[in-house]
């Protein structure tokens, strides 16, 4: 891993269009400002990893597991699967 030392208000560049700035340092907490093109998603790593785990877990669900879900639904118009029979 590349390790760089930076002070407050200094930045690093990743490629030619991502800038990470040290905005504030307080104790063991660092605040980062990130300027990146809008098509580059930026996530807190632990949040992203939690979503990965949740998707993998959810992808194990079988139709039999969801039979009861209707009883939790309110009457409403939207039908997420659309109207096409499968």
């Amino acid at each position: 891993m590349l390790v760089l030392s930076r002070q407050r208000d200094e930045s690093i560049m990743i490629g030619d269009n991502i800038v990470v700035t040290i905005v504030d340092i307080r104790g063991d907490k660092v605040r980062l400002g990130i300027n990146a093109p809008s098509e580059i998603p930026v996530h807190r790593q632990e949040v992203y990893e939690a979503i990965q785990r949740e998707n993998l877990r959810a992808s194990q669900l079988e139709p039999g597991d969801t039979q009861e879900i209707g009883k939790f639904a309110n009457r409403g118009p939207a039908r997420p699967g659309g109207d096409k029979p499968r």
Binding site: S38, I51, L61, T66, G70, P80, P85
Partner: protein
Amino acid sequence: MRITTTRFGRIDVEASDLIRFPSGLPGLEDCREWALLADASNDALGWLQSTTRADVALAVVSPRRFVPEYQVRIPRSELTPLAVDDMRQAQVVVVVGQNGTGLTLNLKAPIVINLEARTGRQVVASGDLPLQYELSLARPPLKKSA
């Protein structure tokens, strides 16, 4: 187009049922193309079925039908890749999961679908929302976001 699935057998899907996820989904980055299927027995439920991996499907629901007070706030940077200018062009669904107690909804990372362009993206919503919101008949109120 005919696709093979472990849950639903071999099925024919129309091009209009296909949704492209250019970045895949977190944890399922290799799954770029999905078919949105209606559940045969439950009209509140849909399935996003990967067209390339027969065993990968996600149950999805419209969150407002289950959590009426759910108000999703999505950073603009998350929506730019979808080219959704107007949220009315977009359909928001959330993924159904299961924990030890029962069925759950992933309210933290809804899936936004641009209906016109047939593209989708799982986004990270702002605020303190649960990845596993437990469905129960006595609905727990959704915590106000921080």
